[in-house]
């Protein structure tokens, strides 16, 4: 089984639980390197509000920020997202295989 740090995964899932933050991630997917104000504008969010969301995403390792002059540009960082997906895939595999065996067991039993 894959091992990983539980605390990092929790931060990832918490960060993804918010619609504004998901919107930010999806926009960054299409337009890497957007500035903080470009991200905030369509949401009518004030900059400090957007900064708070970006802090959460950054703590979860989902984005990176780089500063050039007075502009901060934001990029995706996909490692933690992969971990979240690994969690899902791992259990999907585990249960799919186990349930195949469960079904075989009870159906065989029923035919006797």
């Amino acid at each position: 089984m894959v091992k990983y740090q539980a605390s990092g995964m929790d931060r990832t899932f918490s960060a993804l639980a918010d619609p504004t933050r998901r919107y930010v991630l999806l926009r960054l997917k299409d337009e890497p390197g957007l500035s903080v104000s470009e991200l905030a504008r369509p949401l009518s969010l004030k900059l400090p509000g957007m900064m708070k969301h970006l802090d959460v995403l950054s703590d979860a390792g989902l984005i990176t920020r780089t500063k050039a002059g007075r502009t901060v540009s934001v990029h995706l960082s996909v490692g933690p997202m992969r971990e979240a997906m690994a969690w899902l895939k791992r259990y999907e595999r585990f249960w799919t295989a186990s349930l195949d065996r469960l079904v075989a067991l009870v159906e065989e039993d029923s035919e006797r």
């Binding site: 899932f13 996909v78 249960w95 295989a97 065996r101």
Partner: protein, 146 residues
């Protein structure tokens, strides 16, 4: 708000009665015959099937690794519903929650399994349940970001 967290859901239609399926998911000697992700042996199964009772299963994979999922039953409704917490003994993963639901279906059983992460504080505060939509997009997302 558990539904806002990622979860694995699997539905199977089984040609056996809910009573038979219930026995297979609650009786240790039957649990040992199916519980495990590959053809490796299930080495032990203990199940104190009542709310607050524990289960513990040890299985060995074909590659020789042994694993020990364990947890506590939360809800026990014979032939209908079994809910239990899930953790891996000795592994750092936080607790998750598994639900088995059985419904009579066409002389057999419709079996639904849900394995979900338990909400932590921050996820509870969110009133958004848009996980499914995001997860649909994730494979594309991950591919595109590579």
């Amino acid at each position: 708000m558990t539904h806002s967290l990622p979860s694995v859901t699997i539905v199977r239609r089984i040609k056996a009665s809910p009573a038979k399926v219930w026995a297979a998911i609650t009786q240790p000697k039957l649990m040992m015959q199916w519980w495990g992700p590959d053809a490796g042996p299930t080495l032990s199964a203990e199940a104190d099937v009542r709310p607050g009772g524990r289960f513990s299963i040890v299985f060995r994979l074909l590659n020789g690794e042994e694993h020990n999922p364990t947890g506590v039953y939360r809800e026990v409704v014979p032939e209908k519903k079994l809910v239990f917490t899930w953790e891996w003994a000795g592994m750092p993963e936080r607790e998750s929650l598994v639900t088995f639901r059985l419904e009579p279906f066409d002389g057999g059983t419709e079996f639904t399994l849900i394995h979900e992460r338990l909400p932590d504080e921050e996820a509870c505060k969110s009133h958004e349940a848009g996980w499914a939509g995001l997860l649909d997009k994730l494979p594309v997302f991950l591919g595109a970001a590579e």
